[in-house]
Amino acid sequence: MKKITLVCAAGMSTSLLVSKMKAAAQKMNVEVEIRATAESNFAEFENNTDIILLGPQIGYTLKRMKEKYEPRGMKVAVINSLDYGVMNGAKVLKEALEM
C-alpha cells in the first residue's frame, strides 16, 4: 500500500485536501494511506512515506526535501497550486500515484 504524506506549514490547510483525497481514493478503489503534517514535524513520518507532496506555499523547500529524501527512495513533488486552492483531491491523488 502506498503511503502519501502531505506537508505544509502547519498541516492545517493540507488536512482538508487529505480528506478529499481519501474520499477520491475510496471512489477509485485504490488502497492508499494519506496524511498531513507540518513541515517541522515531517521527521515523524520519514521512515513511513513513499510519496511526499508539498503544499505550494512551502514549495521553496522542494530542493532540500529532494536532496534529503530522494536517495532514500521517496518521491517528492509540489502540489499544483490551483488544484490545491480548489482542493481537487481526485486530481492530486491521481497525479501522485502516477509519479
Partner: protein, 431 residues
C-alpha cells in the same frame, strides 16, 4: 506580463530557498513553534486569574485562588528564556543532524552560568538565588544567542570528530554520554569566561549587555509604525509570489521580538499597570492575519455570497469554514491571488489599511492595547478579540472585516465577471 511574473517568482523562490532554509533562521522559527505550547498553557491560566468579572475576581482573590492560578504562569511564561535556550540549541543541532538533546542540555548549562546570581544572608545562612528577571521574556535574546552558539560549537566538535570515542560494542547510550564530554567542557568553560569578563564591565552581566544593546533597540524598531508597514508589505509580496510569507518574515525574523513585547504587556496586565506596547505578536494575529494573511475575510464573503460565476461560488463556500479558523490557502491558490494582477492591490492594501486603523485607534486610546495573552492561531476573530482583553477589540475586528469587504469587492467583481462570461461562453460552445 504573466511570463515576467513567473520569472520573478522563480528568482524569488531561489532567494527564499537560501533564506528560509538557513539553518539558524529555521532553528529560531522551529524553536518558537515549540515554545508556543508552554506559553499558551501559561496564558490560559493567566486568563482565568484575570477574568474581568468583578464578583469572580473578588472570589478568587479572597480565597487565595489567584495566587494558585499564577503558579503555572510563573513556570511557563516567566521561564520562557530557559525553555527557549534548550529548544533553539536542540533545533540547531537537529538541523545539522546531530544529537539535539545533548546540545540543548549544554546550552542550558551555559545559559545558567552567564546569568547573574544573587545572595541573601539570613541569620548565618547564605542563600543563592537566580532572579526570574532573566529567565523570562527579558532573557529571550540571551537565550537565542547562547542556544545557537553553544549548539554550533557542539556540532563543530562532533563533526570534526573531536570527541571521546568508545570502542565498538559499548552501548550507544554510554558512548553518547561520552560524545558530549569534550564539547561540554569547552562550552561550559567559555560560558564561565564570559561570566567573569562581563562581571567587570559596566553592564555587570552578558544578559544586561544583550538586553540593553540588542533587545531594547530591536524592540524599539519593531514597535514603530514604519515596521508595521514594512512587515505587512514583505509578507504580502511574498504570498503574492506564492511563498509562505508569514513563516518566512513573521516566524523567522519578527516572532521573538514581538513575542517579547507581548510578554511585557502580559506582565503589566498581571501587575495592573499601563501596558507598554501597541504592537506585538497578537496584534498581527488579531488585526492582520485575521481570517488568514491579507485579511481575506472580505474576499471570502464577496465570493461566497455575491459571486455570479459558479467557479467562485463553489470556491467561496469551500473557503468559508476554513477562513473562520484563519486558514486561507484555498483563496490564495484557488482564486488565485498568487500572480493575479486583479488581486495584487487589494491583497497588499487590505492589511496595510486595517493594521493602520488598528494602530491609530489603539494609539489614541479608543480601543485598549492587547493584553498579550497568547492564544492558538486558529482562534476565530471576535473570540480572539475578547480574549485579548476587551469587547472593543472584538468590535474593531468586525469593523476591519467590513473594510476588508469594501476593498476586495470591486476587484473581485471584475474577476468574477470574467469568469462568468467564460462559463457562459463555454456552455454555449458545448451546447
Amino acid at each position: 506580463m504573466i511570463y515576467n511574473a513567473a520569472k520573478i517568482k522563480e528568482k524569488m523562490q531561489e532567494g527564499m530557498v537560501a533564506f528560509a532554509n538557513n539553518k539558524y533562521i529555521k532553528s529560531i522559527s522551529d524553536g518558537m513553534i515549540f515554545m508556543m505550547t508552554p506559553i499558551i498553557v501559561g496564558s490560559i491560566f493567566m486568563l482565568f486569574a484575570n477574568l474581568p468579572i468583578a464578583t469572580y475576581k473578588n472570589f478568587i482573590d479572597v480565597h487565595g485562588i489567584t495566587f494558585i492560578l499564577k503558579v503555572p504562569v510563573t513556570f511557563t511564561i516567566n521561564i520562557m528564556a530557559v525553555l527557549s535556550v534548550f529548544f533553539i540549541a536542540y533545533n540547531v543541532a537537529d538541523q545539522f543532524e546531530k544529537d539535539g538533546g545533548m546540545a540543548g542540555l549544554l546550552a542550558l548549562i551555559s545559559f545558567f552560568i552567564v546569568t547573574p546570581m544573587g545572595e541573601i544572608k539570613n541569620n548565618n545562612h547564605i542563600f543563592n538565588y537566580i532572579s526570574f528577571d532573566w529567565l523570562g521574556p527579558k532573557g529571550l535574546f540571551v537565550a537565542i544567542i547562547i542556544g545557537m552558539v553553544t549548539a554550533r560549537i557542539y556540532v563543530f566538535f562532533v563533526q570534526k570528530g573531536l570527541v571521546i570515542k568508545m570502542p565498538e560494542g559499548v552501548p550507544p547510550a554510554v558512548s553518547k554520554s561520552f560524545t558530549g564530554l569534550v564539547p561540554g567542557f569547552v562550552t561550559t568553560s567559555l560560558a564561565l569566561l564570559i561570566f567573569i569578563i562581563f562581571k567587570y564591565t559596566p553592564f555587570g552581566s552578558l544578559n544586561q549587555m544583550i538586553y540593553n544593546c540588542i533587545q531594547i533597540p530591536l524592540e524599539g524598531l519593531s514597535a514603530s509604525y514604519g515596521a508595521l508597514l514594512i512587515v505587512n508589505l514583505a509578507i504580502g509580496v511574498l504570498w503574492f509570489f506564492g511563498l509562505h510569507g508569514t513563516i518566512i518574515v513573521f516566524n523567522g525574523i519578527m516572532a521573538p521580538v514581538y513575542l517579547a513585547m507581548d510578554m511585557e504587556n502580559l506582565a503589566a496586565y498581571e501587575a495592573g499597570t499601563v501596558l507598554p506596547n501597541i504592537l506585538g505578536y497578537q496584534f498581527f494575529r488579531c488585526y492582520v492575519f485575521m481570517s488568514g494573511t491579507g485579511m481575506t475575510i472580505g474576499l471570502m464573503l464577496v465570493m461566497a455570497f455575491f459571486a455570479k460565476s459558479s467557479q467562485y461560488k463553489t470556491l467561496g463556500r469551500l473557503a468559508l469554514p476554513m477562513s473562520i479558523f484563519n486558514i486561507n490557502e484555498p483563496l490564495i491558490f484557488g482564486t488565485p491571488i498568487v500572480l493575479n494582477p486583479f488581486m495584487l492591490i487589494p491583497f497588499l492594501l487590505t492589511p496595510l489599511v486595517t493594521s493602520s486603523i488598528a494602530y491609530i485607534v489603539t494609539a489614541i486610546g479608543i480601543v485598549p492595547r492587547l493584553n498579550g495573552i497568547q492564544i492558538p492561531w486558529p482562534t476565530p476573530m471576535i473570540l480572539s478579540g475578547l480574549m485579548e482583553g476587551s469587547w472593543k477589540i472584538a468590535v474593531l475586528q468586525v469593523i476591519l472585516a467590513l473594510i476588508s469587504f469594501s476593498i476586495y469587492y470591486f476587484p473581485f467583481k471584475a474577476l468574477d465577471r470574467r469568469a462568468w462570461e467564460q462559463e457562459k461562453k463555454n456552455s454555449v460552445d458545448n451546447a
